[in-house]
């Protein structure tokens, strides 16, 4: 449990590693950690880039992932801009931008940090928490170390307990997410929660939220959502215009980019996809099984599931995860043009359409998945369960029953943050894709036999 070392900046680390070898055991251990973490991230980034069909305009997204995970740099932001770390999808980025800070989503997928976190939190905690606590303890990632405040929505048992642990180390604010969202009282409570968050955010930067600053940030996020909705229409195209793994990478990059920069880049990507559509430049074949992934979040560098799907002959056309499309669903709809109206719109936008299993009644998620299956012409669903992520596991059975009625095959893959299960997963996913191909073949109208 004594993994809290003296804090050093990454520049100092890199400088040290270039000039003289680390001396103490702790330094050597930290250096090994950095080497291993960057190596794994570089490997997955390479696999991402090598996956054929990546649009040219994807490069800036790849660069961001490289900056954060391989070069261990901080997010690109104007000097003196404070970073506010967030988790899950219930923290309104708009409020953070409105106080002049930069939101960074800190949910992590690092295998190396997971291994460190394994010693810090109970064995059965989910790997995401272990990875976060691992980075927190090693103090080598600027995005964690430079956070002026962490805002953690209490969405599951692990996040709830993580708040307690983080509070002992860094300034942390917990956001109580109501367990229901249908009643006005639930919404009223979340509005109060957001109002209570404002002074905490204002303390970070010393700036106060004004109507103008909030409206501006809502507009900025609205533009990102608009670009995202355009991107989604391209994703629905048959045959596919972009690989799903690449789409997930750009969604992951959203966590570490200023929203304007990200939206601008997505705008360029959308233009490229429009050209591809016109030129009939596709990345999949007509009959390639169209797969959707849902369940526990898939966070870089833990992108083994989407990579396996696309490496074994499937095409990932949709992702209903909180690191994917769920984080940029419907835009904020402002009905009442007052400050309170803006706050209420935010509370609505961050809870009502949200399909997180933290809500007691989450049947909305089933409808959402069904809708996505229809929109994206999905032929099979991969249900991803991170070991220890009980809330998603609970919802699997209902989904399986519902998709069974639709005749859409679904496979539950349980995984952890390590590479040991990759071959086993590959066999299962390969078999699943073969099954879909066979099913497709059986459904296809037979050609009349030619006599003689």
């Amino acid at each position: 449990m004594s993994l809290i070392y003296n804090k050093k900046t990454n520049q100092e680390n890199n400088h040290e590693s270039n000039t003289k070898p680390p001396t103490t055991m702790e330094e050597r251990q930290r250096q090994r950690f950095v080497d291993k973490a960057t190596k794994v991230s570089a490997k997955y980034l390479r696999r991402l880039e090598e996956l054929n069909g990546a649009p040219e305009t994807m490069q800036p997204f790849f660069k961001v992932l490289k900056d954060i995970y391989v070069d261990m740099k901080n997010v690109e932001k104007p000097a003196d801009t404070k970073i506010v770390g967030t988790y899950c999808v219930m923290v309104p980025d708009e409020l953070i931008y409105a106080v002049g800070a930069q939101p960074v989503k800190l949910c992590s997928g690092s295998y190396t940090a997971f291994a460190i976190g394994d010693d810090l939190v109970p064995r059965d905690a989910c790997p995401l928490i272990k990875a976060v606590m691992g980075f927190q303890a090693m103090e080598v990632m600027p995005i964690y170390d430079d956070c002026a405040l962490m805002v953690v929505p209490i969405t599951c048992d692990c996040k709830k307990k993580m708040v307690g642990m983080l509070k002992e180390r860094v300034p942390t604010y917990s956001l109580h997410v109501p367990t229901a969202k249908s009643d006005d009282t639930d919404m009223e409570q979340y509005v109060q929660e957001l109002y209570q968050l404002i002074p905490e955010l204002e303390k970070v930067t010393g700036q106060t939220i004004s109507y103008q600053s909030l409206a501006k940030s809502i507009d900025q996020m609205g533009f990102a959502q608009y670009q995202m909705s355009k991107f989604n229409t391209y994703k629905k195209h048959v045959p596919a215009l972009i690989k799903g793994t690449h789409a997930m990478a750009l969604m992951n990059a959203f966590s570490y980019m200023p929203v304007e920069q990200w939206s601008q880049q997505l705008h360029l990507l959308n233009q490229e996809l429009a050209r591809r559509k016109k030129d009939k430049h596709y990345v999949s074949k007509d009959k390639q099984p169209r797969i959707m992934v849902t369940g526990s979040p898939i966070i870089f560098p833990n992108i083994k599931i989407p990579l396996l799907i696309e490496e074994t002959g499937g095409i990932l056309v949709g992702d209903e995860t909180c690191m994917g499309e769920r984080s940029l669903y419907d835009p904020t709809v402002v009905v009442d043009q007052s400050f309170d109206g803006l706050m209420r719109s935010l509370a609505n936008r961050y809870t009502r359409p949200c399909t997180c299993p933290t809500f007691v009644d989450n049947s909305q998620r089933i409808y959402r998945i069904k809708q996505m299956i229809a929109d994206h012409q999905v032929q099979g669903v991969v249900y991803h369960v991170l070991r220890g992520c009980l809330v998603y596991d609970f919802e699997y059975q209902t989904l399986e029953d519902e998709l069974g009625k639709l005749g859409v095959p679904v496979i539950r893959v349980e995984s952890d943050y390590n590479e040991e299960d990759i071959e086993q997963l590959r066999i299962r996913i390969e078999a699943f894709i073969e099954l879909i191909k066979l099913k497709d073949l059986a459904l296809r109208p037979k050609k009349p036999e030619i006599a003689g």
């Binding site: 449990m1 939190v121 109970p122 064995r123 059965d124 905690a125 209490i154 599951c156 048992d157 692990c158 709830k160 307990k161 708040v163 307690g164 642990m165 509070k167 917990s174 109580h176 109501p178 367990t179 229901a180 009282t185 409570q189 109060q192 929660e193 209570q196 299993p357 933290t358 809500f359 007691v360 009644d361 989450n362 220890g388 009980l390 809330v391 596991d393 609970f394 919802e395 699997y396 059975q397 209902t398 029953d401």
Partner: protein, 421 residues
């Protein structure tokens, strides 16, 4: 979803489990006449024939709801606390593999082929953990009338009290709608008096057991306190507990020195609920003594709303605030009340070791462990983490580990005595 699955295990394993536990408790402590009532109360609660006929008006899952509100609404709370391996088997098809046994057992009580407790009941589900939030959905999807209570997870949050009040007001409204009886001031005061009498007697009982150390086993002490949740007649139960306290005080039985000198441990963590008493029995079997227990249900005994400043003027506020303050369930980000209670036990002294009980899947307790290791470590009191579920296959393995722990305590004691000499 197969709520009434045909392959549900026969009821016999359910019946045999509680019967075995009650028999063991009786055989160990048969010299005390007054305990029969409490064992019988537990027997009648679990008896399957009774379960089939039973139509409770209000069901409460776990202990995180102030029962005064239910009494004030004119109903008797029917508690479902889990604890049964038989009902765990009944809910096997409904929940994921890693679900904790308490939630599995609770769900098994409500969704099975053998009895339908929730047919006419309002089921109150406090959202204390992931399983409870998903369980609430499963129950409502199965057509049950469910009301959830969202417990504010941060007691230090300035809005926590308001949120809790809001939740309690909603619950009161639902209770009133269901029972047709208003939660008037008079009803609340009467309910407070009833519950407070029971709590006072339970506190006395703990005190008497401390005085008459070794007279009754730790397991029986827990069973008597547990039976509070199984009685249908709280007034009668109080009368019998008063009688038991007096009988224990008057008991002149000579307690052997060996019995008195057993190393005393504090059993804390995941609540131990009847009929699954393998841990208390194991502790007793190997020659350790349960000096005290600390879990969410025991801590509730100390939530005295009559001592609240608003008890006379506004009994509703007094009830809900005292309850929230003393609640130490798994619902909180930092379970301060749980920690303070452990500090209190430490101050009281007499504890030589701590058995930290973690039921598989109840991860919140595991997160708290480190803090308690540090706390007890300051006084050189060893903490033994014991992870298990409701299965009985691991008993021998646990016995070996527990025996090693006991040897460590004995060695520790010997070293202390030597140092004193």
């Amino acid at each position: 979803m197969t709520v009434n699955h045909q392959k549900n295990k026969p009821a016999s394993s359910y019946e045999s489990e509680y019967m075995d536990t009650l028999r063991t408790l009786f055989n160990e402590n048969s010299q005390i006449e007054a305990i029969r009532y409490f064992l019988n109360t537990t027997y009648l609660y679990f008896k399957q024939e009774k379960m089939v006929r039973r139509k409770p008006e209000v069901i409460v899952m776990g202990t995180s709801i102030p029962e005064e509100l239910i009494y004030a609404a004119g109903a008797k709370p029917f508690w479902i606390l889990g604890g049964s391996l038989g009902t765990v088997a009944w809910s096997d098809d409904l929940v994921p593999r890693d679900t904790d046994p308490v939630s599995r057992s609770m769900l098994g009580f409500l969704l099975n082929d053998h009895f339908d407790l929730g047919a006419e009941a309002l089921i109150i589900v406090p959202i204390t953990c992931d399983s409870s939030r998903k369980m609430a959905y499963l129950l409502s999807a199965a057509g049950k009338k469910v009301v959830t209570v969202d417990i504010p997870p941060e007691k230090s949050d300035p809005l926590a009290g308001l949120k809790w009040r809001g939740q309690m007001e909603l619950l009161a409204e639902k209770l009133t709608d269901h029972t047709g009886r208003r939660l008037s001031k008079k009803n609340l005061v009467q309910a407070t008096q009833l519950v407070e009498t029971a709590r006072k007697l339970m506190r006395d009982f703990i005190q008497v057991c401390r005085q008459k150390e070794g007279l009754i086993s730790g397991a029986l002490r827990m069973a008597v306190l547990n039976s509070y949740y199984y009685t249908a007649d709280l007034k009668g139960w109080c009368g019998h507990l008063r009688k038991l306290n007096l009988e224990l005080l008057a008991n002149r039985q000579v307690i052997s020195a060996a019995e008195q000198s057993k190393p005393k441990i504090l059993l804390m963590g995941s609540p131990v609920v009847l009929p699954n008493y393998k841990i208390p029995f194991l502790i007793g079997d190997i020659g350790l003594q349960i000096g005290a227990t600390l879990d969410s249900s025991i801590q509730k005994i100390y939530a005295s709303s009559t001592q609240h400043k608003a008890s006379k003027r506004d009994p509703f506020t007094a009830i809900i605030e005292s309850h929230y303050r003393y609640d130490c369930s798994a619902a909180y980000a930092q379970n301060e009340m749980f920690y303070q209670s452990a500090c209190w036990h430490l101050e009281q002294g007499g504890i030589e070791g701590v058995v930290f009980h973690v039921l598989k899947g109840q991860i919140e307790y595991d997160f708290e462990l480190e803090r308690f290791e540090q706390l007890f470590g300051q006084e050189a009191i060893p903490v033994f983490r014991l992870e298990t579920d409701y299965q009985y296959q691991d008993v021998e393995q646990l016995r070996i580990r527990m025996e090693a722990f006991m040897e460590m305590l004995a060695h520790h004691r010997y070293r202390e005595e030597k140092r004193a000499v």
